[in-house]
Amino acid sequence: MTTPATASVTRPARSRLPLSLWLVTVALPLVAVAVAVVLQLAWLPQLPEPVATHWGGTAAPDGLGPAWSVLALTAALGGGLVVLFGVILGTARGAAPTAMHKFLAVTSLASALFVAVLTTVTLAVQLGLADAHDARLEGWMIGSAVGAAVLPAVIAWFVLPRAVVPGEQTLPTTPLELAPGERGVWIGTARLRGGVLAVLVVALALVLVATVLATVASDGAVWPILLAPVVVLVVAVLAGLAWRVRVDATGLLVRTLPFGWPRMRIPVGEVASVTAVQVEPLAEFGGWGWRLSPVGGFGLVARRGDALLVTRHDGRRFTVTVDDAATAASLLAAYAASATQIGERAP
């Protein structure tokens, strides 16, 4: 009984993100929000009181409010989103910038621009009016706000440095040495814990309460529309709270607890490479549970830290966080290597 000879996996240092990424994530959005707030302040004397604050399906407003509420919305929502994206990027670890880092950066820019332009447009159509009910917000105006948000974001994507692919730096795991005929099984369990679990449970409870309230308030009219998405959401969250990872001669099997389904199976013959990696849930997967991300591929993520990364022959990647992933990786690597040898010998 020997300890498997696997390189210990260390947590990568905090990322040094390029200055251009911070400009796009924080500086440019804050400038856009500040310009919008200053412009809206300057317009205050020319605006009706109250101003139109809400539009329904038509060009005419269906809700009025004080002018300061629009300014407050611009500053709080625009600024708040910038802070949110800034904090997420500030906690990034490992190689940078990844495609996810760039995506977060341009999304920060786009959402701040959208808030700034849209609130400004809604006030612009009311300049010089005596009664806010006369204001008209046309569809093309909203479209231009979307364009003003998306276009700079797309340009920023191409101006920013090329994305690096995390995992390029990680070396393939040393396969566990198995004697001919020797069999090995690795079994591990992972579950969401602490703050993340609490946030998920509270969010799920809020969704359920909101669904019940909406159903009661509408005399049951909305439940046929809400039922399917709410059930899917509840199942998706509950099926991503805990799972068991098993590596044996047949390959990798990940079963969510307590029902064993949904599950993920990768037969040993499909395994191209295996490594133990360090995962950053927000930066690489954008959250917890079952995730699909442009950076990490498909993943089942409980926390930051040790994870098993399996790349298939067709290039698809699957990452699952689990303690002692290095041992699991070395065993799967051993079986994958012997499966390849058998495959090469076969006619």
Binding site: L178, A179, G181, V185, I187
Partner: protein, 117 residues
């Protein structure tokens, strides 16, 4: 936790399973309160008879390393953490022996002398 069995080694399979669990406990991979895989699952994954796995679990229970409870499976006891302290001492001992230039055979002979079977 990693469990290895080698049918060609001449050691009984259940002894090998028990030894794997012991090694996992002493490495600290298994902590007190952790649950061993269900006997059926382990038997399935190792391609051995379920009674072989149950026999290994019973052996571990007799040693006091796990509790076997109906419905709860095999749960690692507090005795498991005692093993990890020994592993740390052994590592230190081996490092000392290596720096003093004492070959492995001599070290093992010294341990046998101190701790006769």
């Amino acid at each position: 936790m990693l469990i290895r069995v080698d049918p060609g080694s001449g050691v009984a399979i259940y002894d090998q399973i028990a030894a794997s669990v012991r090694a996992d406990a002493s490495r600290g991979t298994l902590q007190p309160g952790d649950r061993l895989p269900a006997a059926r699952e382990l038997a399935d994954a190792l391609d051995v008879n379920i009674h072989t796995v149950l026999r290994a679990y019973q052996q571990l229970r007799d040693e006091g390393l796990v509790d076997l409870r109906r419905g709860r499976g095999a749960v690692v006891t507090d005795a498991a953490s005692a093993g990890s302290a020994i592993v740390a001492s052994v590592r230190a001992l081996v490092a000392d022996a290596r720096s003093a230039g004492i070959p492995p055979q001599t070290l093992i002979a010294l341990i046998r002398e101190e701790y006769p079977a």
